[in-house]
Symmetry: C2
Subunit: 94 residues, 2 copies
DNA sequence: AAATTTTGGTTTATAAAATAAACTTGTTTA
DNA sequence: TAAACAAGTTTATTTTATAAACCAAAATTT
């Protein structure tokens, strides 16, 4: 009836990040920050958690001289996101 | 882009309870417990929060000799639930 | 009828989460 | 060269979610 919701995705900011990445596959830190309107600290922490779970991979590099962190959704992450969306449907009148 | 999600509703158990009440309007504690498969303690706490927010009203009475707590969704609660569902749509590919 | 179990919860304790504030390192601009 | 900015990270704090322990009354068992 009410399937367990993946606690990693049932978080406002992580869900927003995954929602973006599910669409564009890859995005850098600054882009995610702007789109989600999150603080850098919060975003940093949530990205770590998604990475630890294997839902995204993180590439650290430079854009010109500036450091640039790029996040890419993994197949595991994409599947988890889709499962979460499906699970939610049982909670909502859609 | 990503609207703020009502933190009172962005909780697995509270969302399940509100989802049920949005459909049936009124249900008692035992029914909610069975449907959500929650522990009594957790359910009790979450019901309190929903009641404090004015999303549900709680009637305490008896069914025969047994105590019976009935929860009813309020117009405020129903609106909040609908708003939450709408907000979520911006996070999900639906 | 006394003891035990069950029902219907509440209260309390704890572990985990979300978030912001403070900090760091390096770069650009005035 | 000093001040401001960019891109994050680390740390600290406040909430949450949840379960475990508890309680009173009713029902059941012996």
């Amino acid at each position: 009836m009410f399937p367990k919701l993946d606690p990693l995705l049932h978080s406002e900011l992580r869900l927003a990040v995954m929602s973006i990445l599910a669409e564009v596959r890859s995005a850098d830190f600054s882009f995610l920050k702007k789109q989600t309107d999150a603080t850098a600290g919060n975003l940093s922490v949530q990205i770590d958690k998604l990475a630890e779970a294997g839902y995204i991979s993180v590439q650290k590099g430079f854009k010109g001289k500036m450091p640039c962190t790029t996040c890419t959704i993994t197949p595991t992450g994409l599947e988890a996101f889709r499962n979460y969306v499906n699970a939610l449907k049982d909670y909502l009148p859609l």
